[in-house]
Amino acid sequence: MHIIKLVFKNTFRHKLRTSLTILGVVIVILAFGLLRTVVSAWYAGVESSSASRLVTRNSISLVFPLPISYKNKIRQIHGVKFVSYGNWFGGNYIDEKNFFANFAVEPASYLELYPEYILPSNQKDAFLRDRKAAIAGQKLATKYGWRIGDAITLKGTIFPGNWEFVLRGIYRGKDKGTDETQFFFHWNYLNETLKKTMPLRADQPGFYLVGVSNTNLAEEVAVALDKTFKNSLAETLTETEKAFQLSFVSMSEAIVVAIQLVSFVVIIVIMAVLANTMAMTARERIGEYAVLKTLGFGGWYIAALIFGESLFIAMIGCIIGIAFTFPIAKVFGDTMGTYFPVFNVTMKTIYLDAGVSLFVGAVAAVIPTWRAIKIRIADGLRRIG
């Protein structure tokens, strides 16, 4: 169609101005996409949490443990299907720079509770059989070049000493939202060592993980569980996994709000930049618009030219921006891997990129279009020469 050709040609009349504006849009789309991805990475633990899992911890604070004897009592509560338990180990690999999440867990029940960690059955068997065995997520193993059978030593921070493990399995996530940067080993290995070295700290898991038989029962089970240990030496606080994860995230909610605010400001800025470009463009072409109107073209045609150009610039920037978002997010995700275990550009972000670009393109065209249409033909023609 004729008008599309004209929009296309008009867009590249001022190559430098158009290129700079497109560059601006590209940067904004990149910034917007990455910031959104950071925010969703922040909430990744919440997103991937299961409604059928509960987390039980000491009601005073997460740093206080619970007695191992609770295990059997929890199992007897109506609606409980699985019980697992563990401790945040907090060990360092080689030195402190190498941060990743590592837990001592009761392995069989833990794997039952977390079907999203997919382990080949021979690796699973090998992991369960060997007291010193450990498993790691695919991303973590790749990062350190670990292979099955490797000996791995973690330096304990909460539990002092050098702890030696043998890697027996590498798990994969069920989907992109699953954290593949964790490290798990046998709780018994930790506990038995503690019995010898620090008997006072033995037999005390940091948390219990409870699987309910039916998600509808989750609330009920949580209440019943906490009631069971009311007035005991270690009272419990049980919440859904989601609520538990959220309590971590909400500590840093201010940061998330700040990030979102920045995204918003960046969009306003590019809107102003594009509106300015379109205003300059339309002002320069007032005479041409007057000629077109003289020839009998209506206001809609002028509007289509200006809106078309504005949207075209915004969408070129958007597409280039999206194209760059993926590799840059990948580099970012790889370097920040263990801090943001799940760092994926989601489809939703892409749709939002497109939506934002369309919105910015349209808004930027409104005032220039209104001016171009409003001006009387005779006045527009007078601007030529």
């Binding site: 004729h2 004209l6 040609k9 008009n10 009349r13 005479g287 041409e288 000629v291 077109l292 109107k293 003289t294 020839l295 009998g296 073209f297 209506g298 009387r376 033909i377 005779a378 023609l381 030529i384 020469g385």
Partner: protein
Amino acid sequence: MEYKTPLVEIKNLYKSYRRGSQIIPVLENITFDIEDGEFLALMGPSGSGKSTLLNLIAGIDTFDSGTIKVGGVDIAALFETELARWRSTNVGFIFQFYNLIPVLTAFGNVELPLLLTRLSRKERREHVETALRIVKLADRMSHYPGQLSGGQQQRVAIARAVVADPTIIVADEPTGDLDRISAKEVLELMGRLNVEFGKTIIMVTHDPHAAEKARTIKHLEKGILNAHNQTRL
């Protein structure tokens, strides 16, 4: 038809501009007719209102009072969109500064008025080629305005003005920006449009040589038509 009405009838036309609270009268009580097939030159000093009058006849500006009828149509009574339609079928425009769209080729510029018609792509191509042949630029079809001389650009503009076969052609100082030789070519072309194709032409000009091409010359002085019109054969 027993009685031939004039193509353009202008009666008691008043037009003023408003600059803030100030009202500047530009045209005062203008009354005259333009016959079908006329070649009229409007002359007069700068600021006398020639362009204003031309714009009013062509339906691209509004006036305070009076009437303008073109081919029996009272153009002040038309809505803006109707007026735009009316212009596209009845009036061809030639401007002093050619006013071609720089990103379109000669072909594309001439084709513009036809985009508002129901003509097919093929029919449009034929019309454009014919128009460009009339102005002797058939070989420059794919050139952009920036690649053409002023005279050639003005000839493209003339082709654009005639391509939709309007009844009236209005030209505001069509030779004002051209050298003598190019101006002569353009004027000859306009003469041909008038004689060969029977177009009614209204041309504003400062140039007495240009005015000589016309059949009638009217003088505008401070918004008032000079009583004695020089009419030539």
